[in-house]
């Protein structure tokens, strides 16, 4: 029976090619636009570190002066160097890491290659395990390296290839801002979408290329890169006691119970600091998991969201349009429907027959819409945004395109099919 309906649908399309093409195009454009924007949104809003995002927490404290404090106001985004080093030293979480972005000039040993700048991260030993950084060779550095200001570094695969032409570089040294650092590890290609651990960096960009222990970076006076907020004048904002917030502090906690305990610990820490005279405000701590942190910082660009809504609105109009066109298409065939009903087709048979027609349009629209979505994403990939290269149709999105098209057309077909099957056999057959 289903093949019969398919055959009838095919004949019906041939009979009125213009109308069919119109409906297919409407669905295709609506689906194409929606899938393009939804894919971009899916890329931007997806969990950056699935499986671990619930266990990584961002720490916020409030060391600023009493003047300007309002109860309930959010503390600053970043931490002071003093707080960060103290909490990392306390070691009360499963793992903890402090970090900041940086820039450094790298002088290659290869002749003919001029010095160039790379973006780097100055952080502590736990960083690599916490964020699941994949190693191609070697490993991260140790806590002892942190304590000893060791002259070590972890480089990205790209940087290794650029400097040495190979990735087998563990043990070799690289001159960073004039100082040779020994390479202890090489990272494989790594992309977190977004780089949530430091939202002041290029969130959807390619990532950092050079990792150096924070303590070492201070000794070598490596330049930092990112936001800095000083609430008081500081002769040296990067000094240990400076009244400046510029460090990101992340901890790993295996369960919600541990998270609650750690939050308690942060409150006690704030009270201790207040008693010691460093803090001026009552305890105002935040411990946000990755999803909470991303939501709080509203990471997904507004424009991406807005574009998705617009595309969906367009799809809705296309859907209503299709409902109207299908309705006229089916009602035009009242005579045929009436005959079929008289000859013994039940209402349900007619309903299914018409719905199959609608579904076929959806399928055709889905194929075309897929092409259009692919085209749309191609356009997005050629925009100079940092997430451009991520805009591709993966398998789930591909399936979603067809699903969207077929579901849309079936929804559109419901009302017309129902009206079509209501055609009473008697009235239509009166020849006058």
């Amino acid at each position: 029976m289903f093949t019969y309906y398919l055959d009838l649908a095919r004949r019906s399309f041939k009979r009125n090619v213009a109308l069919t093409v119109l409906m297919v195009l409407a669905i295709a454009f609506g689906v194409g636009a929606s899938m393009t924007t939804l894919t971009v949104l899916h890329v931007l809003a997806a969990d950056p570190i699935p499986g671990k995002s619930q266990h990584l927490y961002y720490v916020q404290l409030d060391p600023e002066k009493a003047n300007g404090y309002l109860p309930g106001k959010e503390p600053a985004d970043q931490s002071t160097r003093a707080d960060a080093e103290a909490l990392v030293r306390a070691g009360r979480a499963d793992r903890q890491a402090m970090m900041t972005g940086g820039r450094a000039a790298v002088e290659p040993e290869r002749a003919g290659l001029a010095p160039f700048f790379i973006s780097g991260r100055w952080t502590s030993a736990d960083f690599f395990a916490m964020f699941n950084a994949p190693f191609l060779a070697g490993r991260g550095w140790t806590a002892a390296d942190d304590a000893g200001n060791a002259r070590v570094t972890v480089v990205s695969q790209l940087l290794a290839e650029k400097l040495f032409g190979t990735t087998d570089v563990v043990g070799r040294s690289v001159r960073v801002e004039g100082t040779p650092l020994r390479i202890v590890g090489v990272l494989a290609r790594w992309r977190l979408t977004p780089w949530f651990y430091d939202l002041s960096s290029d969130r959807y960009g390619k990532g950092e290329e050079l990792f150096v222990p924070f303590s070492t970076s201070r000794e070598l006076k490596l330049t930092r890169n990112g936001n800095m907020n000083c609430w008081d004048a500081s002769p040296d904002p990067e000094a240990l006691g400076a009244t400046c917030e510029w460090i990101q502090l992340w901890v790993e906690l295996g369960s919600t119970a541990k998270a609650d305990a750690y939050r308690e610990f942060l409150v006690r820490y704030s009270e201790q600091e207040k008693a010691a005279g460093r803090y001026q405000r009552p305890p105002n701590v935040r411990l946000r998991s990755v999803p909470e942190w991303l939501a709080y910082k509203e990471v997904v660009p507004n424009d991406a969201r807005l574009q998705t809504w617009i595309a969906l609105g367009f799809l809705l109009v296309c859907l209503i349009n299709t409902v109207g066109l299908l309705l006229t298409k089916f009602l035009r065939r009242s005579m045929e429907i009436g005959v079929r009903r008289a000859l013994g087709a039940s209402k349900r048979s007619i309903f299914v027959q018409l719905l199959v027609e609608a579904g076929m349009i959806g399928l055709a629209g889905g194929c075309l819409g897929l092409g259009l979505a692919w085209l749309g994403l191609w356009t997005v990939r050629h925009q100079p945004t940092s997430y451009a290269d991520l805009a591709t149709l993966d398998l789930p999105m591909l399936a979603a395109t067809f699903a969207l098209a077929v579901v849309t057309s079936l929804l559109a077909g419901l009302l017309p099919a129902w009206r079509g099957c209501q055609v009473t056999p008697a009235l239509q057959l009166k020849s006058h």
């Binding site: 119109l22 636009a33 000039a105 004039g178 004048a233 109207g324 035009r332 006058h432």
Partner: protein, 406 residues
């Protein structure tokens, strides 16, 4: 024209009529908001920077190795060398430029230690020729004098004191509405206030901030060496920018080859890059509007054609009874007008609802009332154009149809 018979006929075909009315309503609502957003983006893209955009070239650079104690001296040497390039009118060192996506900001208040400062503005600092190089317009007061400048390192101490500040008209109107800000103290940095010595008409901020705060910027007399700000600005005759850019690397390397020059662009490029996103968004919105209008027009044509076919006999009968072709066309035009009106009324309400939601979620402004007549005219016009084809076809139905029996 007789509305009542048309209305009752529509009531008998209310499903199809409702569908077209809803489609028109949705299109109206989306198009109105989309055009409004386009206007919003265009206004944003149009905002004046306050500087001489077509004469500015920006150089980004940094040094290798730490702690150049002679950074300030080197900076001055650089600026002098750059000024000597033929075509360059003036040079300056700076911390940031408009539309370049960085943000050195600071709170500004009229009282010291203000717990809730009314203004947070972009902080521009740089060498003595900064204002002249940028080409900003001073509407009141004066530029800084050389002795008012302090070094950047001095700014970081707790006893730092900058005697004066130049503010934009935006800050002046916010902090000192109705009176002249010249000579007034403001508290930006350090324990001592800064005295307002000049007012700039406009100086755009480096990044997008919420509406209202867009006009807040100020300049402090702090000398910023290249190791801190990493930015040199050159004011060049517009037609000589390319040749000047070509000469920059050689000039700076001659002064000291141990720097890496990462960028040399015209401000025109910087501005274009900054608004690229807005441009593409505007383009997308226009595209969607066009597509929506086309889809709706086709829907109208489809439905009208169907109704013409359904009523063939009725139309023939009317013609046989004395209706002219024009009367038939008028009938369909009126019917379409009624449907469009219903759709537009719903669409306007929907447009405002959508606008309220956009205002809440995406900080856009309120939809101005002028969009009502504009949207109405657009959709009335669209409907009438779309229905013309089927209406003319209806008009050509011969009266003889009336007497045919099948």
């Amino acid at each position: 024209m007789h509305f009542m018979p048309i209305l009752s006929s529509l009531r008998r075909h209310r499903t199809a009529a409702a569908l077209i009315a809803i489609e028109i309503a949705l299109t109206c609502a989306i198009v109105c908001n989309a055009i409004f957003l386009v206007g919003d983006r265009l206004a944003r893209m149009d905002q004046p920077s306050g500087i001489v955009e077509d004469e500015l070239v920006r150089v980004r650079l940094a040094g290798i190795g730490k702690d150049r104690t002679d950074a300030s001296a080197l900076t001055n040497q650089d600026l002098n060398a750059l000024r000597a390039i033929p075509g360059v009118k003036s040079t300056a060192s700076a911390d940031q430029v408009p539309f370049a996506n960085s943000s050195w900001n600071s709170d500004v208040s009229t009282i010291p230690d203000d717990p809730a400062p009314p203004v947070n503005g972009a902080m521009y600092v740089g060498s003595a020729d900064l204002l002249e190089t940028l080409g900003v317009t001073l509407t009141a007061g004066r530029d800084f004098t050389p002795d008012e400048y302090i070094e950047f390192d001095a700014m970081q101490t707790s006893t730092a004191h900058m005697p004066s500040v130049i503010i934009t008209r935006g800050i002046a109107e916010r902090l000192f509405p109705g009176k002249s800000p010249l000579g007034q103290p403001v508290y930006i940095w350090g324990k001592e206030p800064q005295i307002v010595v000049g007012v700039i008409d406009r100086l755009a901020r480096p990044n997008n901030v919420k509406p209202g705060a867009q006009d807040y910027a100020f300049v402090l007399p702090v000398f910023v060496p290249y190791t801190i700000g990493g930015t040199y600005l050159l004011r060049v005759a517009p037609d000589r920018r390319a040749e000047v850019i070509a000469a920059i690397d050689a000039t700076l390397n001659k002064v000291d080859p141990s720097r890496i020059i990462s960028d040399r662009t015209t401000f025109t490029e910087i501005r274009k890059e900054f608004f690229r996103q807005d441009r593409s968004m505007a383009g997308l919105l226009v595209g969607v509007c066009a597509a929506l209008l086309v889809v709706t027009a086709l829907g109208v044509i489809g439905l009208a054609s169907f109704w013409v076919q359904q009523r063939t006999r009725q139309i023939g009968t009317r013609r046989a009874l004395g209706a002219t072709r024009r009367d038939i066309v008028r009938y369909f035009q009126t019917e379409n007008f009624i449907l469009a009106t219903i759709g537009i009324i719903i669409g306007m309400a929907l447009a405002y609802a959508i606008n309220l939601w956009l205002m809440d979620k995406y900080q856009v402004g309120r939809l101005p009332a002028v969009f009502l007549p504009f949207g109405a005219l657009l959709l009335w016009g669209l409907g009438q154009i779309a229905v013309l084809g089927p209406a003319l076809r209806a008009a050509s139905i011969p009266p003889a149809i009336a007497t045919r029996s099948v």
